[in-house]
């Protein structure tokens, strides 16, 4: 079975703290993504990585950074957490051959609360 694992299901942090959200996939996928999910807004793309050490901004990158040092791992970093970053964060991965298999495989999500 394919698997995308997000290390923390639930986190509570204080304003100004640095937050790391980790994501690991075991499918040897080239592409990895971080989405943010908020009620009524669907999923919005924060950052994606099309290969190791490669990254591109998505639609809402402000306040976030990412790291992809190894193919299987993609980390989302909140340098200084703010209350408006309270949300559900979803990691996903996909094979590079997007023309034939563009589907994303998702982790179960990390619910972050910033107080």
């Amino acid at each position: 079975d394919v698997k995308v694992t997000q290390s923390s299901r639930y986190l509570v942090k204080r304003t100004g703290e640095k937050v790391f959200l980790e994501c690991v996939q075991d499918m040897d996928h080239e592409n990895m993504f971080w989405y943010r999910q908020d009620p009524g807004l669907g999923l919005r793309l924060i950052y994606f990585s099309y290969d190791v050490k490669m990254k591109e901004k998505g639609d809402i990158p402000e306040g976030y950074s990412v790291s992809r040092e190894k193919k299987e791992r993609f980390s989302l970093i909140l340098e200084s957490a703010s209350t408006n970053q309270t949300s559900m964060y979803l990691c996903a991965s996909r094979t590079f051959d997007r023309g034939k298999s563009g589907e994303l495989f998702f982790g179960e999500g990390s619910r972050l609360t910033v107080l």
Binding site: G42, R44, F48, L90, R98, G102, E103, F106, E108
Partner: protein, 113 residues
Amino acid sequence: AQSVTQPDIHITVSEGASLELRCNYSYGATPYLFWYVQSPGQGLQLLLKYFSGDTLVQGIKGFEAEFKRSQSSFNLRKPSVHWSDAAEYFCAVGTYSSYKLIFGSGTRLLVRP
């Protein structure tokens, strides 16, 4: 720019009734289209996808969707809903030239006993 619209925020149907969830997209080229389902507290699971060919696509759990280019739509259907289908459903569009999938805002399905 690409966009996906799911006009229904909530839909309630009775168990055993038929279901149709609407999805409209905006994109100039031929899109790749997806439907995902999210159960409470879970990630998203792919129900079905359309890349090319037959415009009626069969998916898992008895779902199907029809791509209508003239209407820019990709509506999801199921002939008989089960209580376990209660979840949130997301339509998404991608293209060959982009890494990104654009998601709609979702439709929450409630199933009456």
